[in-house]
C-alpha cells in the first residue's frame, strides 16, 4: 500500500471523552503522527478483549477503503484512518469494537453470499421481462442465457454484464442484511464497551433524523429501508412500515443470520424486487470499479441536502452498511453448487426438458418463502387430446 501521511490541523477538535476516562489522567491534546500511531496500536488490543481466542488483524488503511469493514472469512478488520484524522477517537473505538463484533458474531461473507445469492436469484426468477416477440422471460432466465456463472460471483470476478448486474443486486441486498446484522451485534455488544457504539449511533442519528423527519426517506426504496431499519431498531425513530414488516427486535437478537435471512427476504421482497428491476430497467448492470450502488445513493442524497453535516452522517452510515461487503469479499471462497441447486429447485418452478413453464404468482411465492410448507408435485395432462404434457405444480400443505 502506498504510504501517505496526513497530519490533522491544529484546529481539529479531539473527541476522546470516553477514552480519556481510563487513560490514567492523560488528555489527548494533539494528533501528531506518533500519537495517531500510538492510538491505533492501543486500539488494536480490543481484539485481545473482544475476540481473545481468534487470530484477527486490525488494519488502518490510509487509502483504498472508504469505510470501516470486516472480513470474517479472512479475520481482518479495516479501520480507515479518516475518523482518527478528524479527531473522532471515541467513534474510532466504536468502529473497532463494531467490526470486531462482526468477527465474533457474524457469519462468514462467503456463506452469506451463497445463501443470499440463492434468494436473489429466486427473486430475479419472479421478475418477468417482455421479449421482442411478445413473450416473457424472467430476469434469471435472461441472465443464464447471457453467460451467467454463479461461481464467478462467489469468486468476486464478475466477468460479463449479467454477472455484474447480479453483483449489484446482491450488494443492495447485502446492505439490507448488514443493517439487520448491525442491529443484532450492536445490541448484543458487551455492555461495558457498548458506550462507544452508542456514541457512534447518537452522532450518526443527529444528522439522519432531521432528514427522516422531513420525509426525504419516506419512499419505500431498498436503500431508504436500510437506514430506516437501522435507526428504527436502534430506537432513534419509530417507523411504522419497518415495525409492520420486520419489527420483532427479539427475533433479530435471538436469530443467527441463517435464520433471519429468509424472513428479511420475505418482509422486504417487494423492495428488493423493485430495486433489482430498477437496476435492470436502467441498464445499470455495468458498475464502475469504484462507484458502488451505495455510493450512488449517498451521492443522490448529498446533492439534495444543504447540510454538509448530513453528508458526513451518511458517510458514517456507509461504514455500517457496507461493511462485511468489500470488493474482495469473495476471495478464497468455494462454490457450493449443492446449495445453489437446492435454492433454485426449492424456490422456483423450473422448465425441465420440454415441460411447460408454470408461472407461480408472486403472492404464492411469498407464502412459499415464509412458510416453506409447499410440496412440489409432478403432473401429467393431456390438454389437446394428442400430447401428454408433464409439468410441476405446487400444493400448499
Amino acid at each position: 500500500m502506498k504510504e501517505t501521511f496526513f497530519t490533522p490541523s491544529e484546529d481539529t477538535v479531539i473527541d476522546a471523552e470516553l477514552m480519556e476516562t481510563w487513560l490514567g489522567g492523560s488528555k489527548i491534546h494533539s494528533l501528531n503522527p506518533k500519537t495517531l500511531y500510538d492510538i491505533q496500536l492501543l486500539l488494536s488490543h480490543y481484539k485481545d478483549i473482544i475476540v481473545p481466542m481468534t487470530d484477527v488483524k486490525v488494519e488502518y488503511p490510509t487509502e483504498g477503503f472508504d469505510t470501516a469493514c470486516a472480513s470474517v472469512d479472512k479475520g481482518i478488520i479495516y479501520i480507515p484512518t479518516y475518523t482518527l484524522n478528524e479527531g473522532k477517537i471515541d467513534d474510532t473505538i466504536g468502529l473497532v469494537i463494531h467490526e470486531l463484533n462482526h468477527i465474533k458474531m457474524s457469519e462468514k461473507e462467503s456463506v452469506l453470499v451463497k445463501i443470499s445469492g440463492g434468494f436473489v436469484m429466486k427473486i430475479l426468477d419472479s421478475i418477468f421481462i417482455k421479449r421482442d416477440d411478445g413473450k416473457y422471460d424472467s430476469i434469471k432466465e435472461t441472465l443464464f442465457a447471457n453467460g451467467f456463472n454463479f461461481q464467478n460471483i462467489i469468486d468476486g470476478k464478475a466477468s460479463n454484464k449479467s454477472e455484474q448486474f447480479f453483483s449489484e443486486c446482491l450488494k443492495g441486498v447485502m446492505m439490507l442484511l448488514n443493517a439487520v446484522e448491525d442491529v443484532r451485534i450492536d445490541h448484543l455488544c458487551a455492555p461495558n464497551v457498548k458506550k462507544y457504539i452508542d456514541k457512534l449511533d447518537v452522532n450518526g442519528s443527529k444528522n439522519f433524523i432531521p432528514h427522516y423527519e422531513q420525509g426525504e426517506l419516506d419512499e419505500n426504496k431498498l436503500m431508504n429501508i436500510v437506514f430506516r431499519l437501522l435507526y428504527h431498531h436502534k430506537g432513534f425513530i419509530k417507523d411504522d412500515y419497518i415495525d409492520n414488516q420486520f419489527g420483532e427486535l427479539p427475533f433479530i437478537l435471538k436469530s443467527a443470520p441463517k435464520e433471519y435471512i429468509p424472513i428479511v427476504f420475505g418482509a422486504f421482497q417487494s423492495e428488493i424486487e423493485e430495486y433489482c428491476k430498477s437496476l435492470f430497467d436502467n441498464n445499470n448492470f455495468n458498475p464502475t470499479d469504484d462507484a458502488s450502488t451505495m455510493d450512488s445513493f449517498i451521492q443522490q442524497i448529498s446533492e439534495s441536502s444543504a447540510e454538509e453535516s448530513f453528508d458526513k452522517s451518511l458517510g458514517e452510515e456507509k461504514q455500517y452498511c457496507s461493511d462485511n461487503f468489500s470488493d474482495d469479499m469473495f476471495e478464497e471462497s468455494e462454490f457450493d453448487k449443492t446449495l445453489v441447486e437446492e435454492v433454485e429447485t426449492t424456490y422456483s418452478a423450473e422448465v425441465e426438458n420440454g415441460t411447460k413453464l408454470l408461472v407461480v404468482p408472486r403472492s404464492m411465492k411469498a407464502s412459499i418463502d415464509i412458510f416453506n410448507n409447499v410440496d412440489v408435485v409432478d403432473c401429467h395432462e393431456n390438454f389437446n387430446g394428442s400430447e401428454v404434457t408433464a409439468y410441476k405444480t405446487l400444493l400448499i400443505g
Binding site: 476516562t21 481510563w22 487513560l23 490514567g24 492523560s26 489527548i28 506518533k34 500519537t35 500510538d38 492510538i39 496500536l41 492501543l42 488490543h45 480490543y46 485481545d48 478483549i49 473482544i50 481473545p52 458487551a190 455492555p191 461495558n192 464497551v193
Partner: protein, 269 residues
Amino acid sequence: MSSNFVIDKTKKEIMSTLIKGGKSCLITGATGAGKTTFCYSLADELKMNPVVINCGSTQDARTSLLGYFTLEDGNTKFQQSDFLSAIQKPNTLIILDELSRASDDAYNIIFPILDFRRNIRVDEMAEGHEIEVDSSVRFVATANVGIEYSATRSIDRALQDRFMIFNLPYMTKREMKKYITKEYDSETAEAVSPLLDIYSYTHKMFAESKISSRLSTRAVLDCLPLVQTFSMKQIMESVILSQFSQDSSSIINDANIIREYADSIGIYN
C-alpha cells in the same frame, strides 16, 4: 499452613514422595507465583519443621550460611548460623529460597550438603571441622527463571543436578478463585473477580509478548484486604498499575493496555 494451595495433585504427591526418600527438589517459577508458600504447604503435609534460608541475602556466604564471630570476655567465639543449626536439627525441611540469587561462594558451601556426603567443613569452628547433616533433614529450593529476572543468574549445572526440578506455573484465574474462596470466602472471591480478570488478561498478553510483565499471584492476594474498603478503580490506579510501565511520553504503554481492558470490564464506569 493451609492445605488449600492449588497445584497439580499428582505433582505434589510426587514431590512429597521424593522428599521423603531423601531427594531434594527445586521449584522454579515466576515471582509471586507462590513457590515459597507451596514449600510451606509441603512441610505441613510432610509434618516437618520448615526453615527458610534466603539465598538472595548470601552475598557474604560464609557469614550467612555458616556463622559469625562474637566477642565474649575478650575472646572471639564462633556463632553458628541458622542454616548450620537447622541442618543438624531432626525433621527439618530447609527451604533454600531464591536459590537463583545466591553467590558462587554460597553454591560451594551448599554443594557437599546436598550430595551423598551430606556434611560440611567449617574451618571457623574450634572443635571439629565437619558438621554432619541430620539424616532426617530434607531440602527444597525455589528459583526464578526467565528473562524477566535480571537480578538472577542461571543456576550452576552441578547444583541443578543435585535437585529434582519442578516448575510451578502461575495459578489460572479459576484456580485463584478457588483458592480465595477456600482461604477467605465466596464474597471476597466475588468482589475480587475483576482483579482476577485483569490478572488473567496480563498473563495472556505477556505470553503473547504484548506487555513486558504480568500480574503475580502475590500481587492479587495482597489486594484482598483492600477490596472491602476501596473501589476497584482506586485499587487499579494505586496498586495494580504501579507494577507496570507507565511511560508518560507515549499513550501506548503496558499500563494503558491494561487500563483499556479494565474499562471493557467496567472498572472505569
